[in-house]
Amino acid sequence: MSDIYDYLGYEIPSLIVDQVDPNKMKTMAAILRDPYPVHWDKDANETLGLKGRVINQGPLNLSYIANMLMAWQGPACIKRLQARFLKPVLDGDTVIAGGKITEIIDSEESRVRAKVWLSRDNEIVLEGEAEILVKV
């Protein structure tokens, strides 16, 4: 786009995560040194009514939005991420990261604000805002 204001209302190309992988949750738990069993012990989730499934880490859910932004504007584009976690994402779920530019924060810096979200079956499971640098 030749003008920063052309970005207003622009829908960021979405990113699909096809079937969240429980093995990545296990590796993630080890990296984080996260003792919370809901991410790696399927039996631990019986009391939550989720027997046989594990819950994806919140940072991984947010990472799909970060990956969507970086795929669009490059690895240095993210300046701020704000997220609210609404629903758990489980192994085997397919989720879609999406976003839409809502505000030009600084035209000289090419800094914009986007509403971002992660959805599963058309239900929003994570929502928030991102501040990103865009190419003009």
Binding site: K24, L32, Y36, A44, T47, L48, M70, F85
Partner: protein, 126 residues
């Protein structure tokens, strides 16, 4: 504290992303690196909140600011504090403690690199 290549590689792989160029650390590292950087751990924070077992902890939200890129094998400094603890009740009667902490990352020269504010829920009754 430094973010090592192997750790960033595995972390990035977990997200499903291709590895980032120029030893850039994946932005999602702002979850665990600051916690480790101030010398604590997720387990220690859970113990502080007196929570244990499935369903005892929930995420409310994050606010992460990036003032510059994080790179592998660069020494960073960390400083943080707990900024809010409040007991709250849900509409359905569940009780939880909101636990909010913030951690700032800077270079060894004192230049700001990032700031995270994380809000967790420590559930008392559902």
């Amino acid at each position: 504290m430094k973010i090592e290549h192997w750790e960033n590689w595995l972390l990035t792989d977990c997200t499903g992303s291709a590895q980032l160029p120029s030893n850039i650390v994946h932005p999602i590292a702002l979850f665990h690196i600051p916690i480790q950087g101030v010398g604590t751990s997720i387990a220690e924070l859970f113990a502080l909140g007196q929570v244990e077992g499935a369903g005892s902890v929930g995420l409310e939200g994050y606010d992460w600011e990036y003032f510059s890129l994080l790179n592998e094998d660069v020494e960073y400094r960390f400083e943080g504090q707990v900024i809010e603890v409040e007991r709250l009740q849900t509409k359905s009667g569940g009780v939880f403690d909101r636990f909010v902490f913030t951690i700032e990352l800077s270079t060894t020269e004192g230049n700001p690199v990032a700031k995270v504010t994380n809000s967790w829920r420590f559930w008392r009754t559902r």
